[in-house]
Symmetry: C2
Subunit: 269 residues, 2 copies
């Protein structure tokens, strides 16, 4: 199960706001056992949103998750972009309108809005691509949207983190859980006392011997000491947890053969 | 001055590593007054790196910064991708080799490498696209690379944060400082007691009256109270700090006309 993420919002690019959504989504989605194939952070620019969505539809993603751009203002244009790219006209959705009206009444009660009648700006949040399904947004005003297109599922989520979290938990997590048959096999360990260029030969040799795996090494500090963290994962399109374990065994044996450095499978706290 | 960022690395997509590089770069670069037009986080996959670079070369970016994929192993393929996309063969660079050799001698002294002679894996880090310039990497082994192509400058930085930070400070910050003539005009303030759909009309009206600005509102919590943070920035291709200030004045007056909510220009600590 491959997932691509697209975050829209100038505020994510101008240094004012930390993009906490994408880290949160990656953590939750990979924990469920799906694979994030890439993510993009783009401005509120219709052409850029369209071309990024178009590219995502051509990537091997099963699910595309967008965040941001669902609100009531002119620069909230994610659904316009989706509508263009999947060629489905925007239409007022009756179920979405009910969701928005409920929020309007609630905002009136709290004094957060001053009008008596729901305005076109509120109604804009219920205008979604034809054939898509609105998803309730418990803490926010704009419903999320789910849409099937050419065998892929697009989820358009609002940008505010509390809204995105709630919708993910209520709608996307169950969706993914039902469909993820096998988790991506993954293992990791640590090498102390050697640096990357020194063990590059072993990494390359492991690649050659075990087709279908990814070996990633990256330097880290643990209790002040330099270490290499080694991850071995299965590449997309391969299906064997055994391959990952065999590659790990081979890798560790080769490091031990060097007579230098030390392999650690679990770090002390 | 427009900057696009591309981070490569499976470890940034599998939930194991937080992408601190991009947040750090955005902060530093926008503070200098440049504009980040978008960023992508992609796997160690040659085709994906090539197509992402190709797309970036077609975007209105003056500078493209990549991070990751400069190391000694097979899956470090950023320079291979750059070489393909800009059509310049990879060649052993003498200046880069000197940098790498120095690091090899240093690693030998520290006992981080056990070989007496520098291996092909170490040498790989000195193989860079023809016509590009190696940049010293004080804390790491792989030099960074600078390359001019079709009026754009590509900087390829290593992935480890301490290496990226050092190279940014020593080489990229001075490069940008010299070339950034004007900072992107930018202002912000806060609205208390109203929610986004309620003030969407004012946002849209501000867009209509002041062509060339971006207005972004986003909900935030400050000392437990819901507020809207409003940012007004100049769009790419426009050049008037006055426009931003005029739009701000107009916006604040319109909010005040409502007789609801409250505008705050500075938050109390």
């Amino acid at each position: 199960m491959n997932v691509e993420i697209i975050n829209t919002g100038n505020e994510l690019l101008n240094g004012k706001i930390k993009n906490t959504n994408v880290e949160w989504l990656i953590k939750k989605i990979t924990k469920l056992g799906a694979r994030i194939i890439q993510y993009s952070v783009i401005p509120d620019d219709l052409d850029v949103i369209c071309s990024t969505l178009q590219a995502a539809l051509e990537h091997p993603a099963d699910v595309i998750i967008t965040s941001g751009g669902l609100g009531a203002t002119y620069d909230d244009m994610t659904l316009t972009a989706i509508s263009k790219v999947v060629n489905r006209p925007l239409k007022l959705n009756q179920r979405a309108l009910e969701m928005v009206e409920l929020k309007f009444e609630y905002a009136k009660k709290l004094g957060w809005t001053y009008a008596n009648l729901i305005s076109k700006h509120w109604k804009k949040m219920a205008v979604i691509p034809e054939g898509s399904t609105p998803i309730e947004n418990p803490p926010g005003a704009a419903p999320a949207v789910q849409l099937e297109h050419n065998g892929k599922t697009i989820f358009a989520l609002p940008g505010p983190p509390n809204e995105l979290h709630a919708i993910f938990r209520n709608a996307i997590r169950p969706f993914l859980k039902e469909r993820i048959k096998k988790k991506v096999p993954d293992t990791h360990f640590y090498v102390k006392g050697l640096i990357e260029p020194t063990i590059s030969g072993i990494i390359d040799e492991t690649y050659r011997k075990f087709e279908g795996i990814w070996v990633k090494s990256h330097p880290m500090l643990h209790t002040g000491k330099l270490m290499l963290e080694i991850h071995i994962t299965l590449q997309d399109g391969y299906d064997s947890a055994e391959l990952v374990e065999n590659a790990k065994d081979y890798f560790i044996k080769e490091i031990e053969k060097l007579g230098h450095g030390q392999v650690i499978t679990e770090l002390e706290a």
